[in-house]
Each structure stands twice: as structure tokens, then as C-alpha cells.
Amino acid sequence: MKKLLYFTLAFISFLTPSCNQYPDFTDPTVLSGTTWRCNDFSADSVYNSTYDYLEYKFISTDSVQSWTKKKNEDSAKKTSTRYYSIHDLFITLFVDNADPTKALPTIIIGLNTLSYKINNSTATGTITLVFYEQ
């Protein structure tokens, strides 16, 4: 009985630290292969009336696809493929063979979120994507 108690305590101690772990998404090898989704657009955004969700799929350590699912469409569509690099807590997106200084959204890495600001003729605000799947 005592042995069983010790074993259970040891097992709980072993499991507890691993439950608190968040993957380090600032590491491209960790980010690669993950999908992030936003389906909670701010009420005043044009996105809210148009899209079911927006997804970013990090298909490798240097490229990312964006997908959108519109409300009036049956399935999601790929809208672009971008190259990316990670600098500290920021993901810089860029288009291959294009001017690297051309401004594209810079994505901020959170514990289990990615967010970026939009400010164009149709929408203004912050898009927050939540870790969706590996």
C-alpha cells in the first residue's frame, strides 16, 4: 500500500511539470507543421461578415500558407504562400524575389497565439490566431 502511494506521488510529480509546458513557437522547427486559426473577428471588422475563419499553416521552417473560409463558400481556399523568418518574438513575412523591405504584416508570437495588426481601407484592428492543430 505504501509502495503504491509512493509510486502514485512520483507519477504525479513526473506529470505535473510537463502539463505546464508551452511549446516554444519562437523556434522555427517547433512552429513548422502547426496550423493557427482565427474565427473570432472584431464586430466592426469587414472580416466578421465575410469569413468563417482565417488560417495560417506553417508548412516548413521558412514558408507559411494563409487560408480563408468564406461564409458563402463550401470549403477553405489557399490565398497566399509567404516566406517567413523569426526574429525574437516577431515573425516577418516576405515574398520571395520581391523587395525584402516591402512591408508585410509582422506577426507577434504569444504563448499560444499569433497576432498582427491590420490597417487598410476595409478593416482596422488586431487579428489574433489561436493554435489550432499540429
Partner: protein, 130 residues
């Protein structure tokens, strides 16, 4: 005897406070570790426990990040140059939209500005790396 002890302690205290290193000297900067663990006013960096710079030699420095719930991880090793009180970092695969980052030596602290946010580093003495 008591007075002597008090005078000695006072002298040690005065000496301790007056003893500051000149970190604009490469030979003094080399081998030091600096840590920023206070990210006041930044929601972006709230996921970070600390950031460290380890000046390995007179021309190379490591950047380490410790995210909350994660072990410390070396982000990169960079070359650096020091001119007057400004350290310029040369990053491999630098962010193309940004100029080379710099660190300004301000007495016993280092001020590192990145994307509009200034990190204040202090010498981290507990670390075994000098």
C-alpha cells in the same frame, strides 16, 4: 575595537559603491553576462521570463531567451563591434526590414532597443559565466 569594525565596514561599503567597471573597455565587457527580466510596459514580452546577452569574447556575443514555462534557449551567436559606448550587433539572417540593432552602454547597465522597445540589462552576477 567596535569603532574600528564600524569604520572598516563603512570603508568597504564606500569602496563597493565607488567600484564601477568601465564596460566600454572590450576586455572588461568580454566574459560578462547581462540579463533583462523586467519588461515593463510591454505586453508582447510578457511571455518572456528573461533575455540575456553573454559576451563570449571581444567580438562575439550570444543572445539567450527564457520564455515562461520553457527552458532557456540560445537564440543566436552574433559578432559585435564596440565604438565609444555603442555596441553594434551583426546578425546572421537579420530582419530585412530593420537596421542592425545596437546596445548603448550606460554606466552599469546596457540599453538595447528593438522594434521601439528598450530593454534595460544589468550585469548578472550569479551566473557562473563570470
Amino acid at each position: 575595537m567596535k569603532k574600528l569594525v564600524l569604520v572598516t565596514l563603512g570603508l568597504i561599503t564606500i569602496l563597493g559603491f565607488s567600484c564601477t567597471y568601465d564596460y566600454t573597455d572590450l576586455n572588461i565587457l568580454s566574459g560578462t553576462t547581462w540579463r533583462c527580466g523586467d519588461f515593463l510596459g510591454s505586453t508582447t514580452y510578457s511571455i518572456m521570463e528573461y533575455k540575456e546577452f553573454k559576451f563570449l569574447s571581444t567580438d562575439s556575443v550570444e543572445e539567450w531567451n527564457k520564455l515562461k514555462h520553457n527552458p532557456a534557449k540560445k537564440r543566436q551567436t552574433m559578432f559585435y563591434t564596440l565604438k565609444n559606448d555603442t555596441i553594434t550587433l551583426f546578425i546572421n539572417h537579420a530582419d530585412p526590414i530593420l537596421p542592425l540593432p545596437t546596445i548603448v552602454i550606460n554606466g552599469a547597465s546596457l540599453n538595447y532597443t528593438y522594434r521601439g522597445y528598450t530593454f534595460k540589462f544589468t550585469r548578472y552576477k550569479k551566473y557562473i559565466f563570470n
